[in-house]
Chain length 343, copies 2
DNA sequence: CCATGAAGTTTACGCGCGTAAAAAATAGAT
DNA sequence: ATCTATTTTTTACGCGCGTAAACTTCATGG
């Protein structure tokens, strides 16, 4: 290997005996050049270490190959996993993903969109907080850049939404709980920071009604993303006060359930579906840790991969056709029941 | 507000009646221009929405203001938290952090360094896997770009290392366990993917010896990052086989401990420091979930913030002085004991 | 063999900003 | 008001690559 330092495309053109515009074409899409020349280029690339300057590349390009990915909180393993899936989908399609976390802070979401603006991404995959206040920022951002929402919906905003069908998944869980024991009450946050929570409450109400049972809802005070803490404190209070009028509690999400499980343990309350148990607790999301709770948590698994891939491919289609779809798309995937020990 | 579209610095110079080179100076360091002109510029900035083009900026700059941050696995809440701290330190110092996860895959770490290369970062904060095979890549990368290691050390590589003093922290835990009950055995992975695990084993051996006890080590088979799974499977096997020759188990990290706790629960073994308990389990790292395990986990808290801030400030100092320090620095922070229910 | 369309080459310009050097303007002190 | 040091303006060039247009070469089929 000569390994002579190649400083720019011009020098690579010289040593490879291929014109610079053709090299430029190659780097923008290796398949856009004839097979034989591609091989010549790639041969040269093996002997002369060269990589195009990203800054120079993106300066004059109409669109970059960057895809922004924004999730509300990477510290939450749910978003960590789905974010990873989305990243992989982008890489697989030849894009450069840029994953940003809003750290549980809606203001950070705005900052993240602002940062992304200067990176001129070809498109953005956004899992929004879903608060009303975000809408203006998101829509303003969406004016110039195509955005596909996932996980949480903001009605009518952006090109498309991909998520889980909470009505299906909650109904599935309610059905299971009713068949296998007492009908559940619902445990959730009083002011949920996520629109899915509202969907789930509504789904719970409808499902209970359909099954001919009276719904009961218990709401925990508390703000922020410390769901386990809130579930533990408020759930513990409710358990010790014997507040539940059923022995079965459906938690709005796994993290609340994890907190409540720890409270039940602390209070010596035996949780599970066995004969010796006096309380059943179920969750929603199949959090990575829900397999290792005590007892392991019965929950609903969302199809991470399907959501991520659909969201990504929808965005790529919009980018490729270079036009907004005339109709906003909403895609909902089914959740699946994961039966473990807790209910 | 006129809000006329400003396309570039030249146009901003026109409307603000300030020359373009001065504007350029301002954007590279607002304090490098006279106070009065800075105010004029910032006034203009409020009425004319303009933001410099990052790609054009970085093309000709000697160094960018980017800082690469690479952690082994963002899905692990430990790295998620410490990564966040490092990010904040960078933003606070006026740099642009770029956080990358290696997803538990050493090959990905190499790819991440490769990606960072094209972003020409001013420096990199790296939490390496610490495998021998990585060394060459890291050192080659470090030839051109200053790197500060954190969390896991690679002996003699890069400018500096910042982490936790495992000898201090393990000794602290062993001391506590010995004072409060039977001396601990150690539970760890057979082939740990992290050099801290080796340090901790060594620390355990020395500490037990110093206290006049015979050390016992139990190693779990298994590869990868599914620590909870491994802790649950292997830990469960050891518990049910009554393999431990003491009622106290010190786990090499919290995630193993979480897995073992779930196994103990499954097997009906009562864990804790109370009189009714037959097994004590302790961990290391103060994982965000260790407060919500059943029972809550006694562990060692690492000083995330101190590690992150020291690593960042060390890197900034190297970047500012623009020269490699003549001596490689190693900084170790003390861990602190967190007494909960499990031991 | 030539016709024909596809692919590569030549030439040229521009993107938005960094940066350097020399000239001009400004602020603060005497 | 005058001097001096600092700051700003003027002028100019270059970074590495995208991209367009006109031209030339190439591959393939009849």
């Amino acid at each position: 290997m000569a390994q002579k330092k190649i400083r720019n495309m011009e020098e690579l053109a010289a040593v490879s005996r291929i014109s610079r515009p053709t090299l430029s074409k190659y780097f923008n899409d290796p398949d856009s050049v004839r097979r034989s020349t591609r091989e010549r280029i790639e041969l040269a690339l093996t002997q002369f270490d060269y990589r195009p300057n990203v800054y120079a590349m993106n300066q004059n390009r109409r669109k970059t190959r960057n895809i922004g990915i924004v999730v509300p909180n990477l510290a939450d393993p749910f978003f960590s996993e789905i974010g990873r899936e989305v990243e992989l989908a982008c890489i697989g399609a030849g894009y450069t993903p840029i994953l940003l976390s809003s750290h549980g802070n809606p203001a950070q979401e705005r900052d993240n969109l602002e940062s992304l603006r200067s990176l001129k991404p070809a498109g953005v995959l956004l899992a929004p907080f879903g608060r009303v206040s975000d809408r203006a920022d998101i829509e303003s951002f969406n004016k110039h850049i195509p955005v596909v929402l996932f996980d949480a919906n903001v009605e009518t905003a952006c090109e498309a939404f991909v998520g889980t069908d909470n009505f299906q998944s909650i109904d599935l869980m309610v059905e299971y709980l009713c068949r296998s024991g007492e009908p559940p009450c619902l445990f959730e946050m009083k002011s949920p920071s996520n629109p899915n929570a509202n969907k789930r409450r509504q789904a719970y109400l409808e499902s209970m009604q359909r099954h001919g049972y009276t719904p009961h809802i218990f709401q925990a005070e508390g703000e922020g993303w410390n769901f386990e803490e809130i579930g533990s404190a408020e759930g513990g209070r409710l358990i010790s006060e014997n507040a539940f009028n059923t022995n079965t509690v459906l938690c709005s999400n796994d993290r609340l359930a994890i907190g409540m499980l720890s409270a039940a343990y602390r209070l010596g309350k035996r949780v599970g579906h066995g004969p010796a148990c006096t309380l059943r607790i179920a969750g929603h999301d199949d959090h990575p840790f829900s397999r290792f709770t005590c007892p392991s948590l019965t929950t609903i698994a969302q199809d991470y991969a399907a959501i991520a891939n659909r969201a990504a491919s929808t965005l790529f289609r919009i980018i490729d056709t270079d036009e907004r779809p005339e109709k906003r798309e909403e895609t909902l995937f089914n959740g699946s029941l994961v039966m473990r020990e807790s209910a």
